[in-house]
Symmetry: C2
Subunit: 218 residues, 2 copies
């Protein structure tokens, strides 16, 4: 058995979106599952003192250019969103409610829809009505989702989930932790793959070969 | 003819060091030269409000880990420096003096020595005496170098060079500008290569084929 890959992301993070289009295939290739964790960079940045990239002097213009070029380089659909930056609290809470009530797979499908809505279809995912529309095709009771996403229980859960993430060292989006090894950024996916590959080789070597009589140490 | 690749770096930047070990081979592969530009991130960060990575909450520990892992992943020699962070003003000024008096090739060789001294041999490159020792094997008058590196002329030149870099959008290390296209970070070297490749293909197509009679527009 191998452990799941923890995937942390903010719904407004373009590099998080790019990562979301690749993480499942990468994990599957090495027999791993992905645990999707929505976080809020606004909360994280209060600790690190960081700011959203596009708002920084000099870095801002570069970032927009790099989002487009990186999407093109990796063959990922991307359209610069009109609504940006935007609050992703409701989307993150809705995802937690879906995880609690419908499980990880449906919640991950929802996350992919939300990302696509923002970074391909230019939909304002800060609007609860848009979140309901995105959840509808998944066969979810969208009224229950809307109520659940604004409940105190889910608000508290999201806060606690972000605290846990930060305690584990998460400070950006996308952020991946696998076997205790942290990776920040979509541009570390090559190193994540190298890690997964080397772990698989170690495991293959660890499987005893039934044809070989092994000498046990005395 | 193709334009040179502008390569901006701070001597205390680990990712700048990694880039310095690869930039020449990459450029040569596509028939380009490299223009090496030492900058001071301390000056740049006053504008962007950024801080050195290893000093940031949460990001600090991660960074040290990522430097080592990235070096290993790319097969680059690296040893965590004891003297860090450290001022790189003298090294940058010495490099400019060498460029002025001995040309770009010798100055680039000096830059590679300085990077190696800090990130492989754990030498305190903030010490003018160490800078002189590193320049000696290059056949340079090290007394003249030491005097030149602390002259007002070179101090003013470094200030101006950094202003020019920032005016061109440089905000980090390594930072590469090629054909007006900016790339931040050693992890953009794959995209730099893609750019160089596509430019070369465009040029090859632009070369008129002598066997073909071309119709000129009337």
């Amino acid at each position: 058995m191998t452990a799941a890959i923890d995937f942390y992301f903010d719904f407004s993070s373009p590099y998080g979106y790019f990562a979301s289009t690749r993480i499942d295939d990468l994990a599957q290739k090495y027999g791993r599952n992905v645990a999707w964790h929505p976080i809020l960079l606004g909360v994280v940045f209060k600790t690190t003192g960081a700011s959203p990239l596009p708002q920084l002097p000099l870095k801002g213009d570069y970032s927009w250019r790099d989002f487009e070029r990186t999407a093109r380089f990796h063959g990922i659909e991307y359209k610069r969103p009109t609504h940006f930056p935007l609050p992703t609290t409701h989307a993150a809470r809705a995802m937690l409610w879906l995880q609690n009530h419908h499980g990880d797979d449906l919640a991950a499908a929802f996350a992919r829809s939300v990302y696509r809505a923002l970074f391909v279809d230019d939909i304002n995912i800060a609007e609860p009505a848009e979140i309901m529309k995105l959840a509808e095709p998944l066969g979810v009771d969208v009224q229950a989702l809307d109520a659940g996403a604004t409940s105190y229980q889910i608000k508290d859960q999201l806060k606690a989930e972000i605290e846990v993430a930060m305690a584990k060292g998460v400070f950006g989006s996308p952020f991946v932790i696998v076997d205790g090894e942290p990776f920040w950024g979509f541009d570390r996916f090559d190193q994540i793959e190298a890690h997964l590959k080397s772990r698989r080789q170690t495991e293959l070597r660890a499987v005893p070969n039934p044809d070989t009589k092994e000498k046990k140490p005395a």
